[in-house]
């Protein structure tokens, strides 16, 4: 077999595995959300389909596919159909640069456990996260519905406000590592040197901003049910609604993976090299470590949603511009000063 074909097959298989695992994780984070929220509110949640309701996501998808797709007459039909596609494609492709393991040796080939080792990985993810706002804004505008328009407006203003704090809080890590490559950032977090310990202030602002970027409670004003019915997806039904739902949870999973990569040491298992395991098992444990950390962050996202009430809009904007942005700037200056003085 020619070399180009082999590498195409390897790349495709890697991508296929990652996307299937990602979509399954997304589907089951919906299930986890419903079950956990039920436990938090002293209910049972979905527990009928399969053992402990484990097949619930499957049934939900089938139900949504079998619904009639309704596009209102007054909507801009092309953009109305395009918007959920943008949301999902953008949310999924963010995962292309996240390293989920170091290297694995299979069939005498060294395979890097990362789809694309882009040398500006951090910028790539930040850029795609801000592209996500297009899906929401376009869906709000094209529906020709007042609730949708207001939801889209709120979402765009909120996401651009918190993007600033997010970008600046990442800068502290880039200063310390001197690179935008995600795999180098992870490799530098060996042992106890996780960035959450080295950059606690940056971690805090980044965490809060990522809650706002994913439109999760306490920042879920774009879809505040009591005021806006369904927010930007009021006029969506059937598969298009499912795609928006999927995009929302894909964003949660991706944000968790991004936080894990930047602050929680990515696939690093502290002091794993001291155990003297064979290389293959080390790789497997590292991938599992990465999955476990992402899982923990997803659970944290869900937990926060069912614990904290929603902000008012002026509070949200005040927090973004007058608290998060200054804190992130202070963190940046402190990090830079520390690096210069200890050099």
């Amino acid at each position: 077999m020619p070399e180009w074909l082999i590498s195409l097959i390897i790349t495709s298989v890697k991508i296929l595995i990652v996307e299937v695992v990602l979509l399954t994780a997304v589907a089951y984070s919906v299930y986890a959300e419903r079950r956990l929220s039920a436990f938090i509110q002293n209910r049972l949640g979905p527990n009928r389909v399969g053992p402990q309701g484990l097949f619930q996501p499957l049934v939900d998808v089938i139900k949504l596919v079998l619904k009639e797709d309704i596009v209102p007459d007054s909507a801009n039909k092309f953009i109305h159909s395009l918007a959920p596609g943008i949301s999902v494609a953008v949310a999924l492709s963010t995962f292309a640069v996240i390293p989920f393991g170091d290297k694995i040796i299979l069939f005498d080939r060294e395979i890097k456990l990362q789809i694309a080792d882009v040398n500006i990985g951090v910028l790539y993810i930040l850029a795609l996260l801000s592209l996500g706002v297009y899906g929401i804004t376009l869906s709000g505008w094209s529906s020709n519905n007042k609730y949708s328009l207001l939801g889209g407006l709120r979402a765009s203003a909120q996401m651009i406000s918190y993007e600033l704090a997010m970008g600046i809080s990442v800068l502290g890590i880039i200063l310390a590592n001197g690179t935008l490559e995600l795999d180098t950032i992870v490799a530098n977090q060996f042992g106890w040197k996780w960035n959450i310990i080295l950059q606690p202030l940056g971690f805090l602002t980044f965490l809060v901003s990522s809650f706002a970027e994913t439109n999760r409670t306490p920042f879920d004003l774009p879809e505040a049910e009591q005021e806006l019915v369904g927010g930007y997806h009021t006029e969506y039904s059937s598969m298009k609604f499912a795609l928006f739902f999927l995009a929302e949870y894909a964003n949660v999973v991706v944000a968790s993976a991004f936080i894990t990569t930047l602050f929680l040491g990515g696939w690093q298992f502290p002091y794993l090299q001291n155990f003297g395991l064979p290389a293959f098992w080390v790789s497997i444990i590292q991938v599992l470590t990465f999955c476990a950390k992402v899982f923990f962050m997803v659970i944290f996202f869900i937990w926060v949603r069912w614990t904290i009430p929603r902000f008012r809009y002026d509070q949200l904007m005040n927090l973004g511009w007058k608290v998060m942005l200054p804190i992130a700037l202070v963190n940046l200056v402190i990090t830079a000063a520390f690096l210069v003085l200890t050099k």
Partner: protein
């Protein structure tokens, strides 16, 4: 073999393929029973009142403008952060001056009240007489 962006492109093609399969399969499977009422704009069951694309609050526009200014400045910070360790003190001083300008801008916008969003001031209904008097 493939460049990194080539792999990103393949990833994007897979993602778009997933979206296309989902939409097309739903389009094939889903029932189509159009009635007139179904395709009207939803507004809590009432007929819609007035235009949808109304003038929105000017603050959204101002926020977007301020965002663009600050975002461009952050774009300048990224290359600085990458080479910071190599250049050292000089980079720190230069960027401190740059950040000072950024912070002055933030303070200006703040003082002008462009970051101020209206706080809702609900009128809480008050009774002018006491219904129950405790004690007597």
């Amino acid at each position: 073999m493939y460049s990194d962006y080539g792999q990103v492109l393949i990833f994007l093609i897979f993602a778009l393929g997933f979206v296309a399969i989902a939409l097309v399969s739903a389009w094939i499977v889903s029932p189509k029973r159009p009635t007139k009422g179904k395709y009207t704009t939803y507004e809590c069951g009432e007929d819609t009142v007035g235009e949808t694309w109304v003038k929105f609050n000017i603050r959204f526009y101002i926020t977007a403008l301020i965002f663009i200014i600050f975002d461009v400045e952050i774009v300048f910070l990224f290359p600085w952060a990458v080479v910071f360790k190599e250049i050292g003190m000089l980079a720190f001083i230069e960027m401190a001056a740059f950040l000072l300008v950024l912070i002055v801008g933030l303070v200006y916008v703040w003082a002008k009240g462009d970051l101020q969003w209206d706080k809702p001031q609900p009128e809480i209904p008050k009774l002018d007489r006491e219904i129950f008097k405790a004690g007597n």
